[in-house]
């Protein structure tokens, strides 16, 4: 039994370009992913590979001009987009990536309390205060507006909002970039701890190195397609234990590994 199973998920968009010619823009070209309870699965790929789109598809957040095919199974239940909307917030939560995911005209406290109510908590006010406190933020943050937060504070507020309840699946969309080392580690440790409690965690990131210590498996995607699954311990040395050439190229391109750019033809 898996927490989340995604099979051959494709998403494309209908768009109009200059001159109003209609185009179909492919977003996801075939994503496969599964997460068991207690697992952190990292979804790694270059930006534009469709990682965030996958998160939005799983939560049923795609815009009306999106066309979708494939299967999304949540705890053994095959979920159509409408079902995914029902799961969103309580069973499946999103940990978004930047301050733009906070309402610019509402105080932080009001937004957290609303999230707590939606997560089904009994005392939203108390939950909001304690969620901030646990992440090292004082009660004065409740009265602030998003534009008055630093980048790190905004990220901690987002973590507090996303992880208020007891979700079964957490989809973390680039939760660490831009954070200082210790804050980033705190976020990743919290995700690891949630997984150890039985959650399934999908960690979407382009930062392979940061993902390795906390992940159970690494799924590599390229141009809207998942191309490889590897174990974290395979990422050692020159990458000789990695099977897929794109995965190997990603690993070798890291600064610590010599910043070698893949030669033409090496990437399939």
């Amino acid at each position: 039994m898996t927490r989340l199973q995604i099979e051959d998920l494709t998403v494309s968009f209908v768009q109009y370009e200059r001159g109003l010619r209609r185009r179909v823009v492919p977003g996801l070209a075939g994503m496969d992913l599964d997460v068991a309870p207690g697992e952190v699965v990292a979804l790694v790929g270059a930006s534009g590979a469709g990682k965030s789109l996958l998160a939005h598809a799983v939560l049923g957040l795609l815009p009306p001009n999106a066309v979708e095919s494939g299967r999304v199974v949540v705890d053994g239940f095959e979920a159509a987009p409408a079902d995914r909307r029902r799961f969103a917030g309580r069973d499946v939560v999103l940990l978004p990536q930047s301050v733009t995911y906070l309402d610019p005209v509402a105080p932080v406290g009001r937004q957290i309390r609303r999230a707590a109510r939606l997560a089904g908590l009994a005392d939203p006010a108390a939950a909001a205060a304690s969620a901030l406190h646990r992440r090292g933020l004082g009660a004065e943050v409740l009265g602030r507006y998003p534009h008055e937060l630093s980048g790190g504070m905004a990220r901690r507020v987002l973590v507090a909002m996303a992880l208020l309840g007891r979700p079964r699946i957490i989809i973390a969309d680039e939760p660490t970039p831009g954070l200082q080392q210790e804050s980033a580690e705190a976020v990743l440790d919290e995700l690891r701890a949630r997984a150890d409690d039985g959650c399934g965690v999908v960690l979407i990131t382009h930062d392979l190195v940061a993902a390795l210590p906390v992940s159970d498996r690494i799924v590599i995607c390229e141009e809207g397609r998942t191309v490889d699954v590897a174990a974290p311990q395979d990422f050692t040395g020159d990458g000789e234990r990695l099977r897929h050439p794109y995965t190997r190229a990603l690993w070798r391109a890291l600064p610590a590994n010599g910043l070698r750019l893949p030669a033409v033809g090496e990437v399939a």
Partner: protein
Amino acid sequence: MTTAETVVSGAALRLPDRRRRTLWWIASALVVVAAVVVAGTAAVDTAQATSLTERNLAPSWGHPFGTDRLGRDVLARTLAGLRLSLVVGTLAALVSAAIAVVLACAAAVFGGIVDRIVCWLVDAFLALPHLVLLILLAFALGGGTHAVVVAVALTHWPTLTRVLRGQARQVVGSDYVAIARGLGSSAPAIAAGHLARHLLGHVVVGTVLLFPHAILHEAALSFLGLGVDPAEPSIGVLLAESMRYLTAGAWWLALLPGLCLLIVVKLVDTIGENARALVDPRSVHL
């Protein structure tokens, strides 16, 4: 991510092709507007012909829009009035667009004090209600058709100037203009070269969208008695005359000419909005 033109079936794709629909709208609106101008020109004489035996008649087959207190055919008067509206609208839109282009380009190219003067001028012209400004101008010019045309033409440029100035500043601020300047091109040469190409679409759309405002303002001034000579058939004059016979139940005098004006204004607006969709497709996504 790659883009490709493919045909995919699915719920979201059951839309008519927007490009074709847009072009169809523009073409048919243009045909109707042209037909109004031709019919209006042909109806000028009929519009003034009085017939004392056929006064204040309700619409019939002989007079689809009825007749007025002097037995003049309201349909002919409406067509002649619409033609006048379109002429005033065209003149006003062209003059205003020309002013807007010159001011916006000057502001963007020369910047500094010129830019501030242009912005202040725009603010100053928007400082009092547009209709009050029109009334002042029409009054100062002594009233009559020429006064309305001048007043309407001279007051519709501020908003378009604001839009074009923003666009022009983007072009001037872009890298390749800096390069052109570095290579020794003078400021006016830069304006001629780059701005013309980038602003053309916005100018065309902006000009078409000025049209409806200009037409409605001409009608308003004429309705108030401050515009077109009452002897000339203008929609505003027709509606002002209709007011006196409204209590007597002559609804056709007001309803049909006004409706025709609305349709013509909406047609021109449709042309403008559809042209905008061609220039800036983001504005019409779903």
